[in-house]
Every structure is written in structure tokens, then in C-alpha cells.
Amino acid sequence: MKIVIINYGAGNIQSIMFAIERLGFKAVLSNNPEEIQAADKVIFPGVGEASYVMKKLKESGLDTLIPTLKQPVFGICLGMQLMCNKTEEGNTEGLGIFDVDVIKFSNKVKVPQMGWNQIYDLKTDLFKGVSENEFMYLVHSFYAPNCAEAIATTNYEVEYASALRKNNFYGTQFHPEKSGDVGEKILGNFLQLNN
């Protein structure tokens, strides 16, 4: 199985590489459109600031490539947010895969949300064998409101979508690679998806 992690120059993707290795697979980093298209699974990580990352994606044409991919694609954290219509962070246009707009938590709660929170109302094989209300590790200031494409929900200020799915596209707000053994199971489930 060929797993490609989209590499657009943001740091801190080593954790995902290591998590995939712990699951017994190898992943390669690439921003080459042909290599990404040929992969069995594509992971779209996200660390940093939305408008900066979007700019990087545009520079390498990945903004037009990603929405056309047919194999399972997994956006993590900012990766998931950028797969939405748009985000309030830096007023950034997203890839428009998930039909929802990402907005910021208010100052009624501490921002960023940092730490472990529960996921529930779990849907799809991404959560196969995962119990309701497991804790996942999250670090974020912006969120996707609950919507038709939500496959997991989390409560922080409001109940929001902590995972999304549309066709072959999956995204989680939480970091499965940093969420203990259950997080690793979710990452493993993604790698087992047929589509």
C-alpha cells in the first residue's frame, strides 16, 4: 500500500510518519501531483496558519488537485479545516470539499481548546471498533459547526463537528496520531478503508 503525506513545507509531520510506522506501514512525503494521484491513501496534515498553508498549496497547484482525488483522503486538524468552504482564520477560501464554513470559538471559552475531549455520535468505518465518548487530543481555535457531513461530534462552547466525511474524503479536527491507542486505531481504520 502506498501512503502519501502531502508535504507543503509545514513542519511537524514527523508524528504522523511515526504513527503510520507504528501501525506497520510506511509513508512518503510528497508535493508531486503524479505521486499523490498514484497513492492508495493520501493524508493531508495541517499545522500552522490557514492563509499561509493555503498559499503554499496554491504555489504547487495542490489546491486544484486535492478535490479531484479518488482514493481515500484524510485531512487532519487544519487539513480538515482547509477542506471546508472557507475559514475565518485569515479569511481564507478553502478547497470546498466539505460544505461548511469554519469559524472561531468565542472568548467565553479558553482559546485555543487544548487537550483531550470526547467524540460521540460516531459514524462510518473510520470509527469501526471505537466506542462512543473516547477522548481525543485537540488543539484548535477554529471549528466546523455541526452539519450534515459530520461523522463525530465534540462539545466545547457548542457541539461541533470533530470529524467530517464526504465520499472518499475524511477529516478529523483531533490528532489521531497523538490520541493514544484509540487515536492510532482510527488512523489504522483509515488505512484499511476501501473507499
Binding site: G11, N12, Q14, S15, F18, A19, E21, R22, V47, G48, E49, N107, K110, V111, P112, Q113, M114, G115, W116, N117, Q118, Y120, N133, F135, Y137, V139, H140, S141, T154, N155, Y156, H175, E177, K178, S179, G180, D181, G183, E184
Partner: protein, 260 residues
């Protein structure tokens, strides 16, 4: 009554063991009898992770020329093995220092003296890597009733007031504050809950309480009275005076949300 079912779903309070690292090895009386190698940070990290620690902090206190290379190797080994987040601190003073640690698998970095000497570093790190990975550590103690920020492990006083400095680092883009009360550190008499609670009224980013943990009730108090988002301790965990599993169960018994 099942507490699990009645607990409202919310962000959990975090328990964070802190490991001092010198030349890539853990130091300061770690007392795990079942360790094969008491100085191996990876093995300790795995044990704490299995016991339910929510995060780990590695504080590098080496002073050798090769310190950075050794630290990077340690970070890589830890990231290979453990699947919970960890922070690395100690002697970090530039964007380049941070980049190499993050690229090797650290989730967050903690800066202290370098932020006081060059506050712009906070802005630069937040802009380049995002606030989520920038922890600003503040050591402070009371002098004539004023909380004064100190450097070099509490030895050198600055002109800065704890609360003013905390507000400034939050405005500059820190994602989290690690506040150590030098008055409480090592006393085992509990955390500086009054100052912690005041910090929470002034800034809207998470606060990690540090310094003073001696028993389980101290952790309860840091969350209930100190309003802390996370509590950090070293020796009580290293010497097994407090076991993380028992600690978390007692927190839950006190209606404090924790990950169990």
C-alpha cells in the same frame, strides 16, 4: 449512579509529568524500581503514557556543546515510541531551535528566559508555527507582596510582574502558559492557587499549574480553586508518591473531568 454517564462532555483537565533531561538522560532521582534503565527518557515516557499521563514535558538542563544534537536525538526517539503529545523546553532561544525540534516530532516547545530577553520571539514562533505549539514558561515568586518573574531557575529577579508579563505573552501569541511558583516549588504544600486563579481572569489561553504538588488534594485544589487547565509535577510522580491512575480517579470522584 454511574459517574461516567452523568459527567457532562467537556474538555478534560490534564495531568503532566515533567522530566528533567541532561545529556539525553533523565535526571533527578527517578525511583521506578521496574525500570530496566532509570535514565532512559523513552522508557519513562512509555510508562507514564501507559499510566494515563495526558502529556509530557521534557526540560533539558544540559550545558554541553553537543546539547542540541543530543536533545534532537532524544525527541526523535520519544516521538517514535509514544502516542501522546509532548513539550520540550530548556535553552531554546531561536526560531531555528524550534524548527528542528518540531521537525523531529516535538508537539510544543516551551520558552522562558529567551522570551523575557526577546519578547518578539513569541510573535515570530506563533506566526511561523502557530500558537498551538508555543508554551511560555514563567517562573515567579513573591517579593514584598508582588509576584516577580525570575530567570535561571528562580535565581535572577527581573523587573517584570507576573500578571503583566502573562498578559503580554498571551497578546504576543503564546498558546499556553506554564506558571511555576518558586515559592511553592519543592515545598509539597500545594500549588499557588490564588495567583493561578487571578491569571485565569486576566488571560484567555490555557494555564498549566506547576510547583508545590505534594498530595492528590493539591491537584483537586489547583483545578477547583486555581482554575488551572492542567497541572504539572515531577517528584511526586517519579517517586511514585502519587500514581496517575489513582490521581485521576480521585479527580473524577471530585467531579473534575479527566480522561480515564
Amino acid at each position: 449512579m454511574n459517574l461516567c454517564e452523568t459527567t457532562k462532555k467537556m474538555l478534560a483537565k490534564r495531568i503532566i509529568p515533567c522530566l528533567d533531561i541532561k545529556n539525553g538522560r533523565t535526571v533527578k532521582g527517578v525511583n521506578f524500581v521496574d525500570l530496566r534503565d532509570a535514565g532512559d527518557p523513552v522508557e519513562l515516557a512509555e510508562i507514564y503514557s501507559a499510566e494515563g499521563a495526558d502529556e509530557l514535558v521534557f526540560l533539558d538542563i544540559s550545558a554541553t556543546e553537543e546539547r542540541r544534537k543530543t536533545l534532537v536525538n532524544m525527541v526523535r526517539s520519544v516521538a517514535e515510541k509514544i502516542n501522546i503529545p509532548f513539550t520540550v523546553g530548556g535553552g531554546i532561544s531561536s526560531v531555528e531551535d524550534v524548527e528542528i525540534l518540531l521537525n523531529n516530532g516535538a508537539d510544543k516547545v516551551s520558552i522562558n528566559s529567551s522570551a523575557v530577553k526577546n519578547p518578539q520571539l513569541i510573535n515570530d514562533l506563533a506566526q511561523k508555527f502557530g500558537s498551538q505549539c508555543v508554551v511560555v514558561a514563567i517562573d515567579a515568586k513573591q517579593i514584598d507582596g508582588q509576584w516577580i518573574v525570575h530567570l535561571v531557575g528562580g535565581k535572577v529577579p527581573t523587573e517584570l510582574n507576573l500578571f503583566d508579563w502573562a498578559v503580554e505573552v498571551a497578546e504576543r501569541g503564546a498558546g499556553e502558559i506554564l506558571f511555576t511558583s518558586m515559592d511553592n516549588d519543592g515545598t509539597k504544600n500545594g500549588f499557588a492557587n490564588e495567583a493561578l486563579a487571578k491569571l485565569s481572569t486576566l488571560i484567555n489561553i490555557p494555564i498549566i499549574a506547576s510547583g508545590g504538588a505534594g498530595n492528590i488534594q493539591h491537584f483537586v485544589d489547583s483545578f477547583k480553586e486555581g482554575k488551572a487547565d492542567a497541572a504539572l509535577a515531577a517528584s511526586v510522580f517519579h517517586f511514585k508518591e502519587i500514581e496517575i491512575k489513582a490521581l485521576k480517579q480521585e479527580l473524577r470522584n471530585n467531579y473534575i473531568e479527566v480522561r480515564i
